[in-house]
């Protein structure tokens, strides 16, 4: 155990635990995986070298072989992990399955300690946040254990309107659920270190009052029973620092999101079981839908700031993997509850939204290169960092592979064949192109990529009764076929964008933090052209060049060239809710939650409808949160009561704020920029003054500007 863990944190004494000796098993499993990977990569590399005209002896061909070997190893990891998952799922009992290890206690007796449910938000859709929270709260109420939990909405919102809307939604939710003193709201003025800083701020203020915390995302939803179960699991496994659940994507209408939902629900169980098989107690943390033991988290998971400027330096962006690694470094286990149901999330509705999110993740993962050699980390977590980096770096490697093989194909056209490469000889060496070998390699790669998908489907068919949970066997089969087709179409588009993101990160271009769009909306043609125009142009140019110089090679690359050319209509059409609904009507891409809606998802829908009604109590609502906070006496009082008590300010600050109030009174709310609005909102004196003066005005124009 690392030195730090012996200093202050107390790891409970070893008792007979079903998860005991997991480290030994993990080592053995990882050793076998690495051996298989190395041998299959060697075989793949050897095979491609033999296919190439120069047998891999030229510089260009050596580069092709090297890049291919890395990529082959990368796709093999997925394949062997899936095979491990299959083995894990078909065998009768997994001793290390944390959800089954130990008694299935489903109620808390109050001795486990209190649990905080945290929802860190930043300029999110207010209705969805509070509807999700209310649904989770009510579901928890149904278990009779709600008294053991407190909910915290931890807002980092910088949009002044959202800030006020969140406060109103908090008050309305508390009133409707009668959940006051169990549902809390905190707005942070300085958004230091974004989400990780937000959580750390909670820990510093209230962490000592709670034994566990369950972190949710703005689009997360966890059923009450699952929440209770998570606490029970932590209580049963006192050496565990984090338990991560699998959030199932739900509630989407657009085609691209429905495809993701379907693939995650169908293939996810096998890949997740495989991940668990390899990681055991060295698992990962995805930053949400997970339970954390607060005390060791506070002790070991403080994140350092990396030297240098963002995105390579500064605060750690993808904090979750690092926190899991730090927790392990502190001597606490991190487990993946891959079979625990009742945990949900919503995914980006369009390809462009997904790519914007990917850009953030890519930047964060690339930053992990700097943590690879950090002192005290476990090898498994260093491997996880590397895997995270490779998940994006694989794209530029694919691009390099395509460029190199295109160069080879074009060079081949212009190069005169050398019949006697070794000088004088009796027989010439004819240049040969072993088409059948190339086909064999293509089939091998396809098997590696698509076998896990097929096996996942078979697993569903045999385990869950003829795929009824996916709409029946036939629909499941066709859904899988179409999913594979769309995956092939999207792959080159994603590859191109990931390459761009990796290059941006490596060359130090910072990523703008745009909150994820969580509601269904569509991509316009103009936006699609702006984002995919370059890809289309590249596809056309590359296709034309190949067709002109080496037609045979062009046909080999058509599955990559065509999607790039068609990326604009592909992005637009798959973002359409109507297209998604059409496929749903056909019974394709159905997920179990659509055929039998879980109660917590029904509750979410109910609260979404209710919240939008309650927000329309006055016609000021359309004017935005800032106007509401200034004009509406109830909301003004509510907002001011959230603010810290009046402090003596420096005369120049007071004067500046007075000037802002004057500006608001003469120009109306439109005359203020968001920063100025935030400054007024954060000052109770200015808020009261503005409220009084707006109501006292008899100026008709000004009254209209403020909605009076």
């Amino acid at each position: 155990m690392p030195e730090s863990s012996n200093k202050t944190s107390e790891i409970p004494a070893k008792k007979k635990d079903p998860l005991r000796n997991w480290e030994r098993h993990a080592k053995l499993r990882r050793f076998v995986l690495v051996a298989i990977l190395l041998s299959s990569t060697y075989a793949g590399g050897y095979y491609i070298a033999d296919i190439l005209p120069g047998r891999g002896n030229t510089t260009l061909e050596s580069a092709i072989v090297a890049v291919f070997a890395i990529l082959f190893a990368w796709i093999s990891i997925g394949f062997w992990e899936a095979m491990a998952g299959l083995f894990n799922l078909v065998r009768p009992f997994d001793r290390f399955n944390i959800t089954r290890a130990g008694p299935l206690k489903v109620s808390l007796d109050g001795t486990e300690g209190r649990t905080a449910i945290l929802m860190p938000i930043c300029n999110e859709d207010v209705d969805r946040v509070f509807a999700g929270l209310a649904a989770t709260y009510q579901s928890l109420e149904g278990t009779g254990q709600v008294e053991q939990f407190d909910f915290f909405v931890l807002s980092d919102s910088s949009d002044p309107d959202r800030w006020v809307e969140e406060e109103i939604a908090w008050a309305e939710t508390c009133r409707s659920l009668n959940s006051h003193n169990h549902l809390f709201y905190r707005h942070r003025r300085v958004n230091l270190k974004r989400k990780s800083g937000n959580i750390a701020d909670f820990c510093r203020r209230w962490g000592r009052s709670y034994k566990y915390m369950i972190v949710m995302d703005a689009d997360s939803l966890i059923s009450g029973e699952t929440l209770v179960r998570m606490v029970c699991l932590m209580s049963q496994h006192p050496k565990t620092g984090i338990i991560q659940t699998v959030p199932h994507p739900v509630n989407r209408e657009t085609l691209v999101a429905r495809l993701q939902q379907f693939s995650s629900r169908l293939y996810g169980p096998m890949f997740n079981a495989g991940l668990h098989f390899m990681q055991l107690g060295d698992s990962h943390f995805w930053g949400h839908n997970a339970i954390i033991r607060v005390e060791p988290f506070m002790e070991h998971c403080g994140l350092p700031e990396l030297p240098g400027k963002p995105p390579r330096g500064g605060y750690i962006m993808s904090h979750d993997f690092v926190e899991a690694a730090f927790m392990r470094r502190g001597g606490w286990e991190v487990w993946f509850a891959y079979e625990l149901e009742g945990s949900y999330e919503e995914i980006p509705p369009t390809l462009l939204d997904e790519l914007k999110r990917e850009q953030r993740w890519c930047s964060g993962n690339i930053q992990h290169i700097r943590l690879l050699f950090m002192r005290g980390l476990f090898l498994a977590h260093r491997a996880l960092f590397l895997q995270g980096v490779l998940s994006y770096v694989a794209s530029p490697l694919w691009v390099s592979f395509l460029c190199l093989s295109t160069a080879e194909a074009i060079t081949e056209v212009f190069r005169s064949p050398v019949y006697f490469p070794e000088g004088y000889a009796l027989f010439p060496q004819w240049p040969t192109w072993y088409t059948q070998w190339a086909h064999a390699l293509l089939y091998a790669t396809s098997i590696i990529l698509f076998t896990p998908k097929l096996l996942s489907m078979l697993l569903v068919v045999f385990r869950k009764g003829h795929g009824k949970s996916f709409g029946g066997l036939l629909r499941l089969f066709f859904s899988m076929i179409f999913e594979v087709l769309f995956a092939v179409l999207f792959a080159p588009v994603r590859m191109l964008f990931h390459t761009k993101f990796v290059l941006f990160s490596l060359f130090g271009r910072t990523v703008e933090w745009i909150p994820q769009k969580r509601l269904d909306h569509e991509t316009g043609w103009f936006d699609a052209l702006r984002f995919h125009g370059f890809g289309t142009f590249l596809g056309l140019l590359w296709g034309f060049m190949l067709f002109f110089y080496n037609e045979a090679f062009f046909w080999w690359n058509i599955p990559i060239i065509m999607p790039l050319i068609l990326s604009v209509p592909l992005s637009v059409l798959t973002s359409r809710g109507s297209v998604g609904r059409f496929f749903r009507k056909l019974g394709l891409f159905l997920i179990p939650e659509e055929l039998e809606t879980p109660p917590v998802l029904k509750l979410l829908q109910k609260h979404l409808e209710k919240i939008s009604e309650s927000l329309s109590r006055t016609n000021l609502t359309s004017k935005g949160g800032f106007v509401l906070a200034v004009v509406d006496p109830l909301i003004n009082a509510l907002h001011r009561s959230f603010l810290p008590k009046e402090r003596k300010l420096l005369p120049e600050i007071r004067e500046r704020r007075n000037r802002l109030v004057e500006k608001a009174l003469s120009n109306g709310p439109q005359g203020l920029n968001p920063k100025e609005k935030r400054e007024i909102l954060s000052d109770p004196f200015s808020m009261r003054r503005l409220h009084v003066q707006v109501w006292e005005t008899s100026d008709k124009k000004l009254s209209e500007m403020w909605g009076l």
Binding site: A200, H300, G302, P633, R640, E646, P684
Partner: protein, 136 residues
């Protein structure tokens, strides 16, 4: 806003307050007082105060504004609004402080009382701890 006033008038709730006890006002002044009346009623409506109490408060506020108006030169709207603010504070609806008491605000929001009579809070009591990065 007009709809609120319209609604109040339709149901016969908008009171016709006679300012200066039968004294004749010029049309401009009359208009100013009518605006003040509407503003006060709207304010009370937005506070969600019960109807009868609303009328009582509005009448009292306008009376006070009239009395003050004869002494200090101020617009009827401003006078009426100042009067209604002080009336609300006097009757315990409202707080004069910059950061009003949370419990009072929650009463305005018609929060049901907590069963254990605990004070309603937006955030629990602080229980500070440390969370620092480990030294490299």
């Amino acid at each position: 806003m007009k709809s609120v006033i319209g609604f109040l008038s339709n149901v016969g709730m908008a009171p016709q307050v006679h300012i200066r006890g039968g004294e004749c006002l010029n049309p401009e002044e009359e208009q100013e007082w009518q605006r003040a009346q509407r503003r006060v009623l709207l304010y009370l409506h937005m506070l969600d105060i019960p109807a009868v109490e609303t009328l009582d408060l509005a009448l009292e506020a306008l009376r006070r504004a009239r009395d003050k108006n004869s002494l200090v030169e101020t617009s009827p709207t401003a006078g009426a609004m100042r009067a209604i603010h002080s009336l609300l504070i006097e009757r315990g609806y409202y707080s004069d402080s910059e950061t009003p008491c949370f419990g009072l605000t929650m009463r305005l929001w018609r929060f049901p009382e907590s069963p254990d009579k605990k004070e309603i809070r937006a955030m629990p009591t602080l229980n500070r701890g440390f969370m620092l990065p480990r030294r490299r």
